[in-house]
């Protein structure tokens, strides 16, 4: 059994990812002196907090067996509308924030409705909603950025700070704390609540989930609604961090968030993935980008790195999974027929 534990540990992508991160960290630390400093690491965390929060939401959708391309647009809409409400309508902070969160969640629920009731595949449905919401945002905003955010929104919230001997200030700020809260919340939600476990079950075998009586519709709404909520949180935080609301600032982040989640072991076919894994995925991407920057490599190079990481990591996962399959003992019963296509159940009798 001990051996089993070890083998099980070996099979977890998180373990491998951590090893890669440590390796990359060591290399970058040696090559770029500024990399392994407290200040740089905290900066890195803050920069990637928004993406990490959105990744938490996306992770839940991926586990449920779906995919969502629209969350960056959702985040932009929630952010822009909340800023408008706060600046033009003069809404107090809690109300503006609440409105933003409600908008995000509602947009997520629209996706769930299209997927569950209209039965559009998740990728097509979310492509459509993304194009609708983003275009409408650009249309109504005219692409204009809002700079006059109220002070309560942009004021820095520092939870802890320290000054190093040479005068560098290191601060733990709101985005980092929110990222921690979001990650912990998502982790608790997915591992400790019945709904979270049902999401895993649905991702693993939707037909079986239906048969044991899981409410598939509800689960879809929870997953996409949760992502919408997290996207809104990310959007609001992003405005807090940069002090302005640019309608297309978050456009295109969906792909790097998706890459991070997949890199962290979340499977596109559903049912598999963990919060620590996704966080590690974000960390790896962040480290690569930041490290390359510190090394003086053009930031344009980063997208190439993302592309390569996606291709290499998925190929490795698939190939290693394939290696494990095939042979069973000659004198043991073989499970499914070779070729293992999903067996369709004959209708009756």
């Amino acid at each position: 059994m001990r051996e089993g534990m070890l083998r099980r540990l070996q099979r977890r992508p998180e373990v491998w990812l951590l090893a890669v991160i440590l390796g990359v960290g060591a290399i970058l630390g040696a090559a770029a002196p500024g990399f392994l400093t407290l200040g740089n690491i905290v900066d890195l965390l803050e920069t990637y907090a928004v993406q990490a929060i959105m990744a938490m939401g996306l992770f839940v959708v991926l586990v449920s067996g779906g995919i969502d391309i629209s969350f960056a647009a959702t985040a932009s809409v929630a952010q822009y509308v909340a800023v408008l409400l706060a600046t033009r309508a003069g809404l107090p902070g809690p109300l503006a924030i609440g409105a933003g969160l409600v908008i995000g969640t509602a947009l997520g629920c629209v996706n769930a409705a299209l997927i569950h009731f209209v039965r559009i595949t998740s990728i097509i449905a979310t492509i459509a909603t993304m194009s609708v919401t983003f275009s409408l945002l650009m249309y109504f905003s005219g692409g204009k950025s809002l700079y006059d955010l109220p002070d309560w929104w942009t004021g820095r919230v520092v939870f802890w700070q320290t000054e190093s001997p040479n005068g560098d200030l290191t601060r733990i700020t709101l985005p980092i704390v929110m990222m921690g809260v979001a990650a912990l919340g998502t982790w608790l939600f997915m591992t400790r609540t019945p709904i979270g476990r049902q999401l895993y079950a649905m991702g693993g075998n939707p037909e079986a989930a239906r048969r044991i009586g899981a409410n598939i519709g509800l689960l879809q709404f929870v997953a996409y609604g949760f992502l919408g909520f997290m996207a809104a949180v990310g959007g609001l935080l992003q405005a807090h961090r940069v002090g302005e609301s640019v309608p297309n600032a978050l456009y295109n982040t969906e792909l790097s968030v998706l890459s991070a989640a997949v890199l962290g072991g979340a499977s596109l076919s559903g049912g598999i993935g963990s919060v620590p894994g996704v966080l590690l995925g974000i960390v790896l991407l962040a480290m690569l980008q930041n490290g390359l920057n510190l090394l003086g490599v053009s930031s344009y190079f980063f997208q190439i790195v993302i592309g390569l990481t996606i291709l290499v990591s998925t190929a490795i996962t698939v190939l290693s999974a394939r290696k494990r399959r095939r042979h069973r003992n000659l004198d043991e019963p073989l499970g499914t027929p070779i070729g293992g296509a999903p067996r369709q159940e004959p209708a009756r009798g």
Binding site: S131, V132, Y300, I306, G307, A347
Partner: protein, 346 residues
């Protein structure tokens, strides 16, 4: 009789597909009706819509989107996606500009220009071949979902393009290129003719070749196709290669339109191609799709776009309306079977 109660999503899908195949409302004739309705509506509502000018701009604007949609069509029919079409097109265009600019002497003779252009096209084809073969091989041999593979290749290709150009648009095409590219034959722009030719070719390939039929079969059930002695891997490699080659044609048209190349041209078309295909009756689950349906869908989108444009409506609103049209059409398709037979088992 054993199949009567097969999982009903299947049954209703089959029903839907039968409808689409036989072309009763919801299939091409339904779309054709929608198209005619739109044209009639705009002609009445927008003064000057029904003019040769509109037709001209229609024929000029359609080719790039149309060719890109054709590039998306075949992967969709096999149950996949190619998210890298725009990236491929742009990189191919960039390469061709680079070749032409580098090789073209300061004062070229006519023959040299033709030679250089041909050389550039050769380079473009070679690039697209390499990209297509690699993508296809990754999809076919790793079994990773095409969304993920092409997300990776898109990122990689875009990254390389941006890295090499620093995100700048590249110009410097020989004049002859633009002249041919923007010429018209009997009032019909060359680009439009190219689109028609490619569409006919693709239609022929899909309907009348073993390769095309295999594509549809793979889209419906890849394992059963493999068990029918069809080399599904080779077909998949072929699909992504062909998709990539279509991007080469799109790159030529794109160069003619913009007279330059850039890593971020036409990026917003990516989703529109999927939208057009699904609107045109391509089954997003794979297995079914016709070039004719796609073309009608493209025409609908373009008519909406030019009509609103003449109305003075922002292109952003047009894009939103495109998305809504897609959702509406899919909703109607999903709901219709249930309207007929109420209380069907789920």
């Amino acid at each position: 009789m054993a199949d009567i109660g097969t999982p009903t999503t299947d049954a209703s899908l089959t029903g839907l597909m039968v409808r689409l195949q036989t072309g009763v409302p919801g299939g091409s004739p339904g779309l054709l009706g929608l198209l005619l309705l739109l044209v009639a509506g705009f002609s009445v509502a927008v003064p000057g819509f029904a003019s040769t000018g509109t037709l001209q701009s229609f024929m000029q604007q359609l080719p790039l989107l149309g060719l890109l949609s054709l590039a998306m069509l075949m992967p969709l029919i096999t149950g996949g996606l190619n998210l890298a079409i725009i990236a491929t097109t742009n990189q191919c265009a960039l390469l061709m500009v680079f070749v032409m600019r580098t090789l073209l002497p300061a004062d070229p003779g006519g023959l040299t220009v033709v030679g250089v252009i041909l050389l550039a096209m050769l380079a473009g084809i070679a690039l697209c071949l390499v990209i297509g073969l690699l993508t296809g091989a990754l999809v076919a041999y790793t079994g990773v979902h095409p969304i993920l593979v092409t997300l990776g290749t898109k990122s990689l290709i875009d990254g390389i393009s941006i890295f090499l150009t620093r995100g700048q648009a590249q110009s410097g095409l020989p004049e002859a290129f633009a002249r041919v590219g923007n010429a018209a034959l009997g009032g019909v722009p060359v680009g439009f003719l190219v689109l028609i030719a490619c569409g006919l070719l693709m239609g022929l390939v899909l309907r009348r070749t073993p390769f095309g039929i295999s594509c549809a079969m793979i889209g419906s059930n890849i394992e059963a196709t493999r068990y029918s002695a069809i080399d599904t891997r080779r077909v998949l490699v072929g699909v992504y290669t062909l998709s990539s080659l279509m991007c080469f044609v799109a790159a030529l048209v794109s160069l003619a339109i913009f007279n330059s190349a850039s890593a971020d041209y036409a990026q917003s078309y990516l989703l529109v191609t999927i939208l057009a295909a699904v609107l045109g009756g391509v089954d997003p689950f794979g297995g079914f799709g016709k070039v004719s349906g796609l073309m009608i869908a493209l025409a609908i989108l373009q008519v909406i776009s030019s009509g609103f444009n003449q109305f003075g409506v922002s292109p952003y609103l047009t894009a939103a309306i495109w998305g809504l049209v897609l959702i509406a059409v899919m909703t109607v398709q999903t709901i219709r079977p249930y309207l007929g037979a109420f209380g069907r088992p789920r």
